[in-house]
């Protein structure tokens, strides 16, 4: 168990590809960190640098007190779960689990004990003498997990371990991994492109975009106070509405409509307004500060319905309780304390 410190780490590939750009993350002992971002944002590259499978171009990676930049993967005291599980196809489940311990000279009795313990936790007891090809995807995933936990390493590294499972199993394994990590209290770095996985599993989320960190924070911080328009659109489902607007004398103007801000600061000039579907409500009465929305179509979700439409020319999705009255045009209010303003050029939060 250890802290993992990533300090100004960059990675360049041949031909000027800069996959990771000066990333710094201080990961606490026992913390579950999720690296999330769109495809190609450099999350796997960062994780693989921590694992030692990829060289570090610039910066320092420390596991515990030790700088590991030049340390071989096998000597970093980490265990990794791969997206395609990377089980050894010629070994039985038992041999797969024991392989890393055997190579480290762990006594036979201790190996047996840990393999038994891990297979009990992961419910793999019946499969110990099978080869990986005789297992289902979910079972293989468990073996990959087991291979990591028997090692009792300083840190677990996960690279999209659930993305090859079907949706239902994914939700179940998500919970199991989280629980297991809680119980073992092993520092974990988990890579995913699924923001829901990030939200549900992380102690802290690191949102990556184009090789740099957009924001680091707890799931709620990232959800409630996204530090950039990118984070705002990436975290949360449905994605936050981002609308072109402008500030005029302290008021927020969208096309020809005006939103009252109840004292919240609005700088003058062009702005990007971010508002979540659930932070809007049907207006009661016909007061000032209501905005008019034209309805395009409605998605019925059971507990709620998602209304898609346009506010002046800007697309907008609005979440309403099921059974709320609908018409072609809706008058809605925006909660001024739940509005997010971003600089349209830099994308940073204002």
């Amino acid at each position: 168990m250890a802290q993992v410190t990533i300090e100004n780490v960059s990675k360049s590939y041949a031909g000027d590809v800069r996959a990771v750009n000066s990333v710094s993350i201080a990961i606490e002992d026992g913390e579950f960190i999720v690296l999330v971002g769109p495809s190609g944002c450099g999350k796997s590259t960062l994780l693989r640098m921590v694992a030692g499978l990829e060289s570090v171009t610039e910066g320092t990676i420390r596991i515990g007190e030790r700088t590991v930049n030049e340390v071989e993967p096998a000597e970093r005291d980490i265990a990794m779960v791969f997206q395609n599980y990377a089980l050894y196809p010629h070994m039985t489940v038992r041999q797969n689990l024991a392989y890393g311990l055997k190579n480290r000279g762990t006594p036979k009795a201790e190996i047996d004990k840990r393999v038994a313990e891990a297979s009990r936790i992961l419910e793999l007891d019946q499969y110990l003498d099978r080869k990986p090809r005789q297992l289902s995807g979910g079972q293989r995933q468990r073996v990959a997990m087991g291979r990591a936990i028997v090692r009792e390493p300083a840190a677990f590294l996960f690279d999209e371990p659930l993305s090859n499972l079907d949706a239902k199993l994914r939700v179940q394994m998500r919970g199991e991994i989280k629980q297991l990590q809680r119980r073992l209290a092993t520092t974990s770095i988990y890579v995913t492109h699924d923001q829901l996985e990030a939200m549900t599993m992380a102690d802290r989320i690191v949102v990556l975009n184009g090789g740099h960190v957009e924001q680091i924070g707890t799931p709620l911080e990232v959800y409630r106070a996204p530090q950039s328009a990118f984070v705002a659109s990436f975290i949360g489902s449905p994605a936050m509405n981002l609308i072109a607007a402008r500030g005029e004398g302290g008021r927020l103007v969208i096309g020809d409509q005006t939103v009252t801000m109840n004292g919240a600061e609005v700088p003058n000039g062009p702005l990007t307004l971010g508002v979540r579907a659930e932070d809007m409500a049907l207006a009661s009465g016909n007061g000032d500060g209501h905005v008019e929305m034209a309805i395009d179509y409605v998605e019925e979700l059971g507990a709620s319905r998602l209304v898609h439409g346009r506010l002046t020319d800007e697309r907008l999705a609005l979440s309403l309780p099921s059974g709320a009255p609908l018409s072609d045009r809706l008058s809605i209010t925006l909660d001024p304390h739940r509005l997010h303003l971003f600089d349209p050029d830099s994308g940073r939060r204002i």
Binding site: P73, M80, N84, A86
Partner: protein, 293 residues
């Protein structure tokens, strides 16, 4: 896999016909002829044949010369197979680390190796040329007066080296593509689980290469037994006298130079049986232990 239904039930047989014809003309028919001739003593001048039962076989087995050639053939086959496999594997692993992810380089390298074997055979032969052969010159530096084609051991050495040399490119290509077929992530998982490069090779890479190695083992043994005929022929130049030759070459010598058709046929039937046994053995015992994905 796509299933294609033929419109006429005879069409598949028509497609098979050329292959079956070739197999029949060049394999079954000669085999039957050989088995038949092996029971006869044929007059060297073509005036009829006498049925002699198993005499031709007994004669071969009893002949100490035949036994000596059989022993050499075993040694030759083992050495050529072991060396060409292990050198091919060594080169392939070295190349594999270099060309990982570099497609054009890989294609280039494989092209070179693919056109190499016949050329390599020629060059190998030149190595041991009594006058211009660099191998002979080098041996001379160490006081080894190499007399290929005259001295038994020197000739055997040259045969083995050239045979190995010629087969390496073939093994290289198969091992290389076998290595490239091992998923990167499995190697990476092994790199995390095992600090020793050699240990990883032994416990992960090699077992995963086993199907390739098994295939090559059969190919290389067949090669050593039969396809080295050309090399042996060039080196001993029909003068088997005191030179090492393999069983196949003896079949040729006895049949075409000695005009002992019956004896030669008996020997080729023996070879046929050996191959049959080897194949059965390999598939029954070795393949079962090889991991196939």
């Amino acid at each position: 896999m796509k299933r294609v239904q033929f419109s006429s039930p005879y069409l598949p047989y028509l497609f098979l016909l050329p292959q079956m014809t070739v197999v029949f003309i060049f394999f079954y028919w000669p085999s039957v002829q050989a088995i038949q001739s092996s029971f006869y003593l044929e007059d060297p001048f073509g005036f009829g044949a006498t049925f002699v039962g198993f005499d031709n076989y007994l004669e071969a087995f009893k002949s100490s010369h035949y036994q000596q050639i059989a022993r050499f053939t075993v040694v030759f086959t083992i050495l050529v197979t072991v060396f060409s496999l292990s050198i091919g594997l060594l080169l392939a692993t070295t190349a594999d680390t270099v060309i990982r992810g570099s497609g054009p380089y890989k294609t280039l390298l494989i092209c070179v190796y693919a056109i190499a074997p016949p050329v390599a055979g020629l060059i190998g032969m030149m190595f041991f040329d009594q006058h211009i052969g660099p191998f002979v010159t080098m041996a001379a530096w160490f006081g080894w007066d190499m007399k290929v084609g005259i001295d038994y051991v020197d000739t055997a050495f040259a045969m083995i080296v050239v045979a190995v040399w010629k087969q390496i490119p073939y093994n290289f290509i198969f091992f290389l593509s076998g290595l490239q077929g091992i998923p990167v992530s499995v190697r990476e998982a092994a790199a995390i689980d095992n600090r020793s490069r050699l240990g990883r090779f032994r416990t992960v890479t090699l077992p995963l290469l086993a199907p390739t190695a098994f295939f090559l083992l059969i190919i290389n043994m067949t090669y050593s037994l039969f396809d080295t005929f050309g090399i042996i022929d060039v080196i001993v130049k029909d003068k088997a006298a005191n030179n090492p030759i393999t069983l196949v070459y003896k079949v040729y010598m006895d049949g075409f130079r000695g005009n002992d058709i019956g004896g030669s046929a008996a020997q080729s039937v023996i070879l046929m049986l050996i191959v049959l046994l080897l194949t059965v053995f390999q598939f029954r015992f070795i393949e079962r232990r090889v991991h196939y994905n």
